[in-house]
């Protein structure tokens, strides 16, 4: 704003584009800059509004009665607002149980997976690991393997140890399928921890275990948080494996709870919308709180080349 007023004493006709002069060009360019800035912000805001519009639709659907939705269609202004869908959705989706299970996975599986991945990533990036490249290669290649190729053998295997239909039993395959990306990101990050730092610690008599816990992990918090958030979102939303492995209701997770809204012949859309919000809000809030770590983590990984 200030730049604009500074440039305006001359009631200038539209500033000629790309004025090559020196003295006069500065204020003109500043004013153009700030105009462009406002334009960009405006454009970005409109873009964001369009981008988010399906979610706005979702929120509107969640706060209107089903009858209103059915008689007026999805794209219409609600005749009546209600919060009744939320307790109803909470009940129908058995979100009480689902939340507990999903939270358990989030709190146990994610840290466990990230920890296990960081151990391997450390071995691959900072230790004299035999067949280092071959192992890294094999693990990272796992990213390409679709989960559904393994479902039937996985099922038989878990049955063998009596771990089908159990929240604990689903953890090992979840960890396994999460590993490749986590190891890839973490080992790239660990590699950027200066060797001199670790050598210095070693000379001071610190062992690898100590170095790992006392230096590498603390130095890598941004990367660990990044990986944990990505993994957390994936775990929170995973449907295919959960649908196949968890059959009884006391073991269902959030996405399975969402499925509960859909009857054999009917779909309770407003309840579904409310349920989606119930399911999504925690992860969205978590993301908003932690997003600076994500960007920070990825930045740190990218800078120290």
């Amino acid at each position: 704003m200030t730049a604009q007023t500074a440039g305006s004493p001359v009631p200038a006709a539209p500033v000629p584009s790309r004025a090559p002069g020196e003295g006069r060009a500065r204020p003109a360019r500043d004013s153009r800059r700030s105009l462009a800035r406002i334009g960009t912000t405006l454009g970005a805001s409109i873009g964001a509004l369009i981008w988010i519009s399906p979610l706005i639709l979702l929120v509107i659907s969640a706060v209107r009665p089903l009858s209103d939705f059915l008689s007026n269609g999805p794209v219409s202004w609600p005749q009546e607002l209600t919060l009744a869908n939320f307790p109803e959705a909470w009940e129908a989706g058995r979100f009480g149980t689902a939340y507990l299970n999903s939270a358990f996975l989030l709190l146990v599986k994610v840290p466990l997976g990230v920890f296990v991945a960081s151990l391997l990533a450390y071995a691959l990036s900072k230790l004299e690991m035999p067949f280092r490249n071959a192992i890294l290669f094999t693990v990272v290649l796992g990213m390409t393997i679709p989960i559904y190729i393994a479902i039937v053998p996985l099922f038989t295997m878990l049955r063998g140890v009596g771990m089908t239909d159990s929240i604990l039993g689903i953890i090992p395959p979840y960890v396994a399928f999460g590993l490749p990306l986590q190891v890839l990101i973490l080992q790239a990050f660990f590699r950027r921890v200066p060797d001199e730092l670790l050598e210095a610690a070693r000379i001071d008599g610190a062992g690898d275990v100590r170095i790992f816990f006392r230096m590498v992990l603390p130095l890598s918090v941004p990367a660990l948080v990044t990986v944990a958030i990505l993994d957390g979102v994936a775990t929170w939303n995973e449907l295919f494996l959960a649908l196949s492995l968890l059959s009884s209701e006391e073991n269902q997770t959030i996405p399975l709870g969402l499925l509960n809204f859909q009857g054999q012949f009917a779909t309770n859309y407003t309840g579904l919308a409310a349920g989606i919000l119930i399911a999504v809000v925690p992860i969205l809030v978590l993301y908003m709180l932690l997003q600076k770590y994500i960007v920070g983590g990825l930045t740190a990984g990218a800078t120290k080349g």
Binding site: L119, N133, I145, I147, F240, L298, A302
Partner: protein
């Protein structure tokens, strides 16, 4: 083993210590990913129906049968289209959003959150939301088209061969743009401001700055995003399954859904698994250069 001399005695032998670190992850990985996948390889060589307790070894018959299956042709081509679009657009949009939002301003964090938000939604919700959007009679898209006088463009988006696949790609792009945006944002912040200041002094336009400084500086990020998207794109299954179920007819079948149909619905576990094996092999082949570059650079 060069560091072994530095180690105090009494600890694990140096060659074992890295293994101790690696073992938990490797065991889980081998046991719950590699092993089941290898078992699937075996199933693809049988005529197992996925249900009975009998099966016989049929060699490569399932693989040969794929050549005569017209749906495999449709699915493979759809996979190619899917990969092209759902890689290129999220990359381009992700970069655009990142460049626009890479400023210190009060709105940027909010906008960032908005653009990333779809990436955290559960699949069930994405499919439902977009089903409403595409509803031919009172969906948002046709309603809006009608309202702005473009009613000629109103379509049954998911209900005709010509638009169905493209329509499923839209939510895919919507969901997939967030992650590249984050990666680009991260990378952008690592480009030193001095570069731009110097260029600015030299009179370079914003566009010139973008093409000469920003874009080349992001080369590593382009590569990572490209590789990750490529790998991801081969796994396409859930959105197609939930939104069109492979239809109308077979027009939106992709390899993943066709595999699923055979294994879980047609009681052709052997044949379906063979399809899964082929997707996996192609995905691995496509992923190898990237993985190798990652391994090499270390």
């Amino acid at each position: 083993m060069t560091t072994s001399t530095l180690r105090p005695p009494g600890r694990l032998r140096p060659s074992l210590l890295p293994l101790a670190f690696a073992a938990p992850a490797l065991l889980l990985y081998l046991g719950f990913l590699v092993w089941p996948a290898l078992q699937a390889l075996w199933i693809s060589l049988t005529d197992w129906d996925g249900l009975s307790d009998t099966q016989s070894f049929v060699g490569l018959a399932n693989y040969r049968a794929m050549l005569d299956d017209p749906v495999v042709g449709i699915a493979a081509w759809n996979n190619v289209l899917w990969s092209l679009v759902t890689i290129a657009l999220p990359m381009a949009l992700g970069l655009l959003f990142a460049v626009v939002l890479n400023r210190k301003s009060r709105t940027s964090p909010i906008l960032r959150t908005i653009f990333y938000a779809p990436a955290v939604l559960p699949l069930v919700s994405i499919a439902s939301i977009w089903a409403w959007m595409y509803d031919p009679s009172d969906g948002a898209i046709n309603t809006v088209l009608g309202a702005v006088g473009l009613s000629g463009f109103e379509q049954s988006w998911l209900g005709q061969d010509s638009t169905a696949l493209w329509s499923v790609m839209v939510p895919a792009v919507w969901v997939r743009t967030g992650f590249p945006m984050l990666l680009y944002l991260a990378a952008l912040q690592s480009i030193p401001d001095e570069l731009y200041e110097a260029a600015s002094v030299d009179g370079a336009t914003r566009w010139q700055q973008f093409t000469r400084i920003t874009f080349p500086s992001l080369r590593d990020t382009h590569y990572i995003v490209l590789a990750l998207s490529l790998i991801e794109s081969f796994k396409v299954f859930d959105l197609v399954y939930a939104m069109t179920y492979g239809g109308p007819g077979y027009s939106t079948q992709v390899m993943g859904t066709w595999m699923y149909a055979n294994v879980f619905q047609y009681f052709e576990a052997g044949y379906g698994t063979a399809i899964a094996v082929v997707i996996t092999i192609v995905a691995i082949a496509a992923g190898i250069p990237y993985v190798r570059s990652q391994v090499k650079s270390s």
